[in-house]
Amino acid sequence: MIRHLPALLVIVPLLTALTVSALSWVAPRLCLPLTFGCIGASLASSIGILVEVIKSGPVVYTMGGWSAPVGIVYVIDYLSAPVLVVVTAVALINLIASSKQIDRDFSDKKGTFYTLYILFVTGMVGIVATGDAFNLYVLLEIAALTGYSLIGIGHERAPLSSLNYLFIGTIGASFYLLGVGYLYIATGSLNMADLARFMAMPEHGTSTMVMFAFIICMTGLFIKMGLFPLHGWLPNAYSYASPASSALVAPLTTKVMIYAMIRVGLYVFTPAYVFGRLQVGGAMVWIAVAAIVFGSLLALAQKSLFKMLTYIVIAEVGYMVGGFFLGNRMGITGSALHIINDAAMTLCLFLAAGAITYRTKSDDFKDLKGLFHQMPFTMTAFTVGALAVIGVPPTCGFFSKWYLIIGGIQAGHYGYAAALIFSSLVNAVLFFRIFETAYFDQPGDGKGHHHGHHKHHKHKNKMVEAPVSMIVPLMITALGLIALGIYTGDIVTHVIQAAIPGGIA
């Protein structure tokens, strides 16, 4: 069965999703355990694959026994294996954490929610694992469609923002499809490795068609990941959704899209083409700088927790895109590392925000007063997440930023390095503003309390912590942030360094 792990990774969730979908009409009680089981199995198999890859190199699996380029292959290499683990782990942790929330928000459609949840994960896993450019599009659409519906049920403006997301997402995916079409015309192939082989040929290296394919593919992915000028759909979509969905969709969508960007950039168009011939790096890094600055500043202007987090996500997208387009080993390492770290960070913050809204029913900043006393565990985890986003060692955020900034310095791109530092500072302001509210202010009263009132704390602030099922995963995530930070060295040497093609200095 080990041989089939790459297939099982995707097939098991798919089969379970279908079973759950059918069972939700017959025996709804079985849905939750099945969902748990299958995502757990996915996590286990992705860890298995990661070990396998580290031990004996990339794994290729041919679907239907047709080897590339005739059939579709799955390629799990040093780049995809860790992302697979992250995707499945995020899905599992969020599932545990939000089972209560799901009960509350979707009581009558739980089965369908679980099905969509698993299908979303299937799509994401597929995107990461696939080695076929067109197959990536199909999986992109699965993930997107489930994403739209998960987001579409929420509060207030959720349907509107979800429809907006759908329009923009469809444009993005279609652009990607068009780009693949251009590549197909130019080369006649759809397999990524095969395409990369074609790219090395001189006639493709100079073709304007290929160049346009690159531009339009990347534009599509940029739209999907919400890179700065194309980010319009993101904040509303993530902030009005149910926390159970947004804590799944927000950490994964943007990160997996960035993964797709790296995959397409490095393994389809090849670094020699992207960084050598096209020379788009400089311009793209400046766009990323704009994204970072813009995201950070707008985050500063927000008045509610989820909105703020979404703008932070936009800034983080800038980090990774910039890091990739720096085009040097350090930058791309940082970018790949940040995919993992940022997924964990975003998960931690969204889960914490979800736990807060679960209790307070609001994510407005003024309703966060006194939370350190009421929800000490949640706030501790939130603090760790915040420190990771700010980039305080030894949390993981520091180390990916480390690589990114060094990449920036080595590439001579000081603007990018400065933008990262700037964003760290802004993040510090953002989060300490929240901490102040949550730490100093009393819930209920309009202004902060004055001298001497602190004696009453114990009486006024009863602990109203979120349920254990939320706290435990949250704590695990928070510890994970620190663990990821501590094991950065291992992750980089054993996995990510091997993922970057040798041509990159």
Binding site: V138, L145, L160, F167, T170, I171, L178, G181, Y184
Partner: protein
């Protein structure tokens, strides 16, 4: 300039796909009615399908169904390229799925706001925010 026109004459299908794509895009950007936008989106998606199908075409060749009883080797050059067709079957399915979901969302929005005009909805939201 003339060169472009001659070139376009040989590639008119591609021009058609671009025009359609732009029609769709225009509808999605400019139109305020959600159903119009959704129709625009569908046009946008079909234009890409048109593009793919055009790439597969070979002048004067037949459809990609090989003779059942042919014992001699099949001459691939005699048939239209089937691969883009397969890809586009998938794309059509995706487009109808997207259409369904989009319409469902639009109906949900109509249920919530009583209108399908995006401008009106935004105006409502703004005045609501002004109140609170």
């Amino acid at each position: 300039m003339e060169q472009i026109f001659t070139a376009m004459g040989a590639k008119y299908n591609y021009v058609a796909y671009i025009i359609l794509m732009m029609v769709g895009l225009y509808a999605m950007i400019v139109k305020s009615n959600l159903v119009k936008k959704i129709i625009g989106m569908s046009i946008f998606q079909t234009s890409i399908i048109l593009f793919y199908v055009s790439t597969a075409y070979k002048t004067g060749k037949t459809i990609p169904i090989v003779p059942y009883d042919a014992h001699a080797a099949v001459q691939a050059a005699d048939f239209i390229n089937p691969l883009p067709h397969v890809l586009m079957l998938t794309a059509i399915v995706v487009s109808v799925a997207t259409l369904g979901v989009a319409l469902a969302l639009a109906m949900k929005i109509y249920r919530q706001y009583g209108t399908l005009e995006e401008d009106d909805i935004h105006e409502d939201l703004r005045s609501e925010e002004g109140k609170s």
